[in-house]
């Protein structure tokens, strides 16, 4: 039987286009120290460290975990590096949790980061291979044709994406750590922003951010000693599939549907929309909110857009999504998945500040990456299972 595991500390940096007053190690240190402070622990209380980030080519520093080990207190301790593209923040947290669940360690610190100001992600994502012509121009170029496929099959109103973009930026105004604070955000402003990768507009796109996020997982015995509320891990799940095979559903990959079914089964959830109080979903381009509402089985096939349209996903709705402002408001790529998990945990700990969902007990964290092929998810709860 797995050890019951809880989140006892969370630390996030301020997210911004350029944190150039900090080095890469300094950025991670800021998040890690804040997590220790939250958990009321010191470096010596940590048994092992797990670090994650997106492709090394983003910053051009190969295996950065080797030079970051001191900054995150990993010297003379077991350290692991995780990499699963954009979903990495989520899978890094899952690996850290599993080290406690399996009884290998009692208390594990995990950190995920990206320093996009020292990188060129669009360049790194647009490599020419001999078999194909480079046409994609960054992640937006890859995902825009899939968004078009979703609009075609679902018949969603064309302004669905605009509504998501406005909603997440309004949420971000309640989160002091968010990168984008667009005080004058409005439907018209998003609608009139330039098309970057038609049908994705500039203001329907995530920013490029610097930032890091850290979490501390502890076993039941140690977590019970915490003076602060604990977010208990009820379930975690990772599923993936190849980027390309004949008949692959690129819009709604089998990997996310399988992930959702398995996650809810592990967590004993029968009706996710009823039982889950709020969710942090990886939405780097606005249309992925309705798409992943279907992928995570909150809505029937082709009806995810209705949740956005009805306001269900707003703070105050029946399933608030991305109350932190989401990836649309802060995107330090490697950290973005962990921020989803950490924000879900903050909600059930009642520590989300101005963007707190009142009475939130059970929350979902979700991350995806690659060509919609890696999915990592978790269910955290204020009560033990």
């Amino acid at each position: 039987m797995a050890e019951l595991t809880g989140v006892i500390g969370i630390g996030q940096t301020k997210y911004a286009a350029k944190r150039d007053e900090l080095s890469m190690p300094g950025l991670l240190r800021e998040a890690a120290e804040r997590a220790l402070e939250d958990a009321e622990l010191t470096w010596k209380d940590i048994d092992a460290v797990v670090i994650g980030k997106a492709p090394d080519m983003f910053e051009g520093v190969m295996m950065p975990e080797l030079f970051l080990v001191d900054a995150i207190g990993g010297a003379y301790k077991p350290m692991l590096r995780v990499h699963t593209a954009g979903s990495v923040g989520g899978s890094t947290a899952i690996v850290a949790a599993s080290l406690v669940q399996s009884g290998v360690h009692d208390r594990v610190l995990t950190v995920a980061f990206e320093k996009q100001s020292e990188s060129n992600a669009t360049w790194a994502l647009s490599i020419a291979l001999p078999f194909s012509v480079a046409t994609v121009a960054g992640a937006g170029g890859y995902f825009a044709p899939l968004v078009r496929g979703y609009i075609r099959r679902s018949g969603a109103p064309e302004d669905t994406g605009i509504r998501v973009a406005v909603k997440d930026r309004e949420h971000a105004l309640k989160n002091p750590l968010a990168h984008l604070h667009l005080e004058d955000i409005s439907f018209e402003k998003v609608a009139n922003s330039p098309m970057l990768w038609d049908p994705i507009r500039y203001l329907e796109t995530c920013p490029s951010s610097d930032g890091a996020c850290a979490m501390i997982f502890a076993n039941e015995k140690l977590a019970d000693r915490s003076d602060k509320p604990v977010a208990w891990v009820h379930a975690t799940e990772m599923k993936s599939e190849p980027t390309m095979f004949s008949g692959r559903d690129q819009v709604m990959p089998r990997a996310i549907l399988d992930n959702a079914k398995s996650l809810y089964k592990k967590a004993g959830i029968q009706n996710p929309r009823e039982e889950i109080d709020c969710a942090e979903i990886y939405v780097p381009f606005s249309w992925f909110e309705p798409m992943w509402m279907e992928g995570m089985l909150f809505a029937p096939t082709n009806e995810g857009w209705k949740m956005t349209y009805e306001g269900a996903t707003k703070l105050g709705g029946d399933l608030p999504v991305n109350c932190s402002g989401g990836v649309l408001s802060s995107n330090p790529i490697g950290a973005s998945g962990m921020i989803r998990f950490a924000e879900a945990a903050l909600q059930v700990r009642g520590m989300a500040g101005e963007h707190q969902v009142e009475g939130a007990k059970k929350a979902l964290g979700h991350a995806y990456g690659g060509g919609s092929q890696y999915f990592s998810t978790c269910i955290v709860c204020s009560e033990k299972p």
């Binding site: 020419a128 078999f131 194909s132 990768w197 038609d198 004949s246």
Partner: protein
């Protein structure tokens, strides 16, 4: 001492280069040599018979080697989905805006990514029938870039049901 020298140095750009020789392997080499002759080669998965284009030696779904006879495909197909790109990228030498397309070649069961040319942006749509526009023969090499871009064909659109499983 110049003024710049007294400013704090925060970021130093130091480009590095890495030259390497890429070995394509048996299956991809056959594909690339064929395209040098203007032929488009796909290959069937031995499990479900689906035609992969280009073939890369193994079926990603079944994990089986694809080593049967190649299937020669025509240079016509259907535009399955697309995006109009207005974002520059350092390693994409195309004038903005351009239309990035996923094309399902006739007889293939996987899509290829390319660009659509000689077409008004307003008229691009899913299901359009398209044909490859090739570079002059004397410029052909072992590269998919022998196809400059795809152009619209004067044919009725393909029915949505005929290509929807490829999005």
């Amino acid at each position: 001492m110049s003024d710049e020298a007294t400013e704090d140095l925060r970021v130093l750009r130091m480009p590095v280069e890495l030259d390497y020789t890429y070995s394509a392997g048996r299956s991809a080499s056959r594909f690339l040599r064929a395209i040098q002759e203007g032929k488009l080669l796909g290959q069937r998965c031995p499990v479900d018979g689906k035609v992969y284009f280009p073939t890369r030696g193994a079926c990603p779904q079944h994990g089986m080697p694809i080593d049967g006879e190649p299937v020669e495909l025509p240079d016509t197909g259907t535009l399955v989905t697309y995006s109009i790109v207005r974002v520059p990228s350092a390693n994409i030498p195309l004038e903005l805006p351009y239309v990035a397309v996923q094309v399902l070649l006739d007889g293939a069961d996987t899509v290829m990514m390319h660009v659509l040319g000689e077409c008004d942006l307003e008229t691009v749509h899913m299901g359009m029938r398209v044909r490859a526009k090739w570079k002059p023969k004397e410029e052909w090499s072992t590269s998919v870039a022998n196809i400059l871009y795809f152009v619209p064909l004067d044919e009725p659109d393909a029915a949505y049901d005929s290509y929807k499983e490829h999005i």
